[in-house]
Symmetry: C2
Subunit: 463 residues, 2 copies
């Protein structure tokens, strides 16, 4: 895809060598302080220029009266000044040759001031600047330590480096999901709260992310869409290469009314959106929980088919998983004769060698290794669901290593289900951090596997 200049300039937003924070402040509670602090504390390796006409120094950095007062090149700017001052500083950024802008300031189209927003957009377009916002919560690039999200990390955790890019029309929804992902150990390549989308909108971001080598999976939270046809077209081009998981808020009649009041965007009918998503092979999430449940599974190699092998140390969980498998129209893998005789030799006599494979409550990590290796070798198994109950006396933390090592081989997708409290969550976070997707229940895992298998089938057909 040939990218327009402003879309190419998003590079400056995500990977700047130098950044100006316009509206930087010495007062700890101000947005313009938190942003400077995020760059300084976060270990951003480029130059940071605080811009404040009334300060000499902010957080140990020399402050400047305007971007024009800086002699060196400035790639990107974060703007958090009052709305009346935005046009002026934006014009200065254009003159300075700044390529990327994150405009935090609100008070534009979302409060009916559409003309002011158009004026701002025109300035950005004139200089070909990639402007995110206005009325947005900022941008994260974990790999380059870009962090213009204006909330402190104790309230909103920052995720590790990973392959999922997440773009959100709502700053609040975006923020709480990023926070959730950070805690769960899910990795991200980029997070963008794109706010009113005056210049850079969801389609521009999708086109950019399609070409972004750090991004393999794209997650989208949408309320309204300005150009549905272009969105559909962009998605159709991207999904054969990278999966897109999207949630559309305001799908119901009353939800659309609420969305109109919230972002001023017309929401469109539920059926129209779902149909458009299906056509363009976008994976639609119905709930916030599903958004990352569906996305994170794509860290695993694509499955060759829909035959699921289930390993569990709790029989009841195997039964629940089988119920969910059938509900999701997946297939219960039939273990080969070879696999069965191998398992009969290696597992205790009281283990029932079938699928779901109940390796019994006294299973230790070694027994998981035997079962996992057998399923990895069996050509009749396409996806492995590893249910680990960490409450048992016999299970040891080593099982985490076994799951991670097996996943590292990238032969077949391995998905873990672990239900429990603190001790369980600790182990889940470790697995998640090393790319093994983990779920809290068999049903949520099976729903994700179904989406994964469906996507893989569609991509197969395209080849």
């Amino acid at each position: 895809m040939a990218l327009s200049k402003k879309v190419r300039n998003l590079d400056a937003v995500f990977h700047p060598g130098s950044i100006a924070v316009i509206g930087a402040s010495r007062e700890p509670n101000k947005i313009g302080h938190v942003i400077v602090k995020n760059f300084v504390d976060g270990g951003f390796s480029g130059k940071v220029y605080p811009i404040n006409p009334n300060a000499e120094e902010i957080l140990g950095l020399r402050a400047y009266k305007s971007v024009l007062a800086i002699k060196e090149k400035v790639d990107s700017a974060v703007i958090a000044v009052p709305e009346a001052a935005v046009a002026g500083v934006l014009e200065e950024c254009g003159k300075k040759g700044v390529k990327g802008i994150v405009l935090i300031t609100g008070g534009f189209s979302e409060v009916g001031k559409s003309d002011e927003e158009k004026r701002i957009a025109a300035i950005a377009e004139k200089y070909g600047m990639a402007l995110i916002g206005p009325n947005c919560m900022g941008v994260l690039t974990p790999a380059s330590r870009v962090d213009s999200v204006f909330l402190p990390i104790y309230k909103l955790g920052r995720p590790r480096v990973g392959k999922i890019a997440f773009i959100s029309q709502s700053g609040a929804v975006g923020g709480c999901i990023v926070d959730l992902a950070a805690r769960a150990g899910i990795g991200m390549s980029k997070f963008v709260s794109y706010g009113n989308a005056a210049v850079i909108n969801e389609c521009d971001l999708l086109e950019y992310l399609a070409e972004d080598k750090d991004t393999e999976i794209i997650v989208v939270y949408l309320e309204g869409v300005k150009d549905g046809r272009r969105l559909l077209e962009a998605c159709r081009k991207i999904t054969p290469k990278k999966p897109i998981v999207a949630i559309k808020a305001g799908k119901s009649a009353q939800g659309a009314q609420a969305a109109l009041s919230h972002t001023g965007s017309l929401a469109g009918s539920a059926e129209a959106y779902s149909a458009a998503f299906r056509q363009s092979r976008v994976i639609e999430a119905e709930t916030l929980d599903e958004l990352f449940d569906f996305a994170k599974i794509f860290d695993q190699p694509l499955p060759a088919g829909s035959r699921v092998g289930i390993i569990t140390n709790g029989g009841g969980m195997g039964v629940l998983a089988t119920d969910s498998l059938e509900a999701e129209k997946l297939q219960l893998a039939t273990l080969s004769g070879g696999t069965k005789s191998l398992l009969r030799q290696s597992l205790p006599s009281y283990a029932n060698v079938r699928n779901p494979l109940d390796i019994i409550g006294d299973a230790d990590s070694h027994r998981y290794e035997i079962a996992l290796n057998a399923m990895l070798r069996d050509p009749g198994v396409d996806v492995i669901l590893l249910i680990i109950l960490f409450q048992t006396a016999a299970i040891d933390s080593g099982v985490v290593n076994i799951a991670i090592r097996a996943s590292d081989q990238r032969k077949k997708p391995i998905i873990a289900v672990c239900t429990g409290g603190e001790y369980t969550e600790m182990h889940k976070r470790i697995m998640e951090s090393y790319g093994v997707p983990t779920y809290s229940s068999p049903s949520s895992a099976m729903r994700a596997i179904a989406k994964f298998v469906e996507y893989a089938k569609g991509r197969e057909r395209k080849k």
Copy 2:
């Protein structure tokens, strides 16, 4: 309901003055050691008698060769001896006048030894003993510190005292759910892993819990049922007084096969179970997540109707909540003129006074208090959904106190939705501990509200 002797004797299982641990061990990894330790460390106020023919003392307690060697009265016994020794010690318990038994030992009908199980059951029946098990994971009564669950608390957390009784056919599923509940701050009156149900089955437990003054909500995990008619009858009698939330594993054809292999019980068809649940007004959970999502909402006063008022500091969450409300066929409450004018006076001019009520990202706890009080007073609001995003700069922890105090008034049900990481989870746990049910997403909260409203309507009709 007139309870049979063995059902009445469950009192000795849940609230014993004295308890014998038969098969107590000095070796820290043995089940018989962990159980004694749970009673000692857990602060059980009654007498604990370790039974071990080869020990003088276990964990500082005098050990006995058999229950018959104890002079004092023994109300209850936990048995964790090899299967061959079970009949003998059970006979001794009967002679001693022990009323309640928790038989941990497995190796009976679940491995095809049904005759042995019948023999055990016959001994218990002869003496009218309430026997839980065999092949079970134990029993918890948080209020009386009874804890025969043989797994250590660092792996399987123990919940606080509360109003939910949870009975589970599967020990593993039961255990991981208890662990989950403990971490989330959900309270329980009782937990019973009833295993093979040789003597006391799910119907007996339901009849007992119906009369139990500490239990207000009953949660059931079922795989197979021995007497469906009796279960249905028991539920029909209980649900007008206490809600029952149940999950049925093995509902699918393949799941039923897995259940047969797991517990040896025939599972029955999905339709038959769902119809039976509906008839007896049991609230059916389709997933493990729903099990406690549905149960914990009943800690709130029953709603007078289905009109939901939504308060949020994140507009997008209000949109999502409205979508879910419509999907669940609940009503969006219409705020009265009085409420609207009060809110217009008290809230900032940029807040849009409607339902969902977006009190904007700069809302502090005081603004939540204003909104919450307005919804509590408005006769057009039956249920209040309080969405709190803890990521914002303005929100303070005081909002937790406001939610708890409002909930304590018990005027209307108040349900909280908070999505996020560690900081958010901390606040959720506090609210949950004081009886405010919390959810991670608008959709899961709305599903629970729908079940709650439906139950309340049915109970209204019965009056």
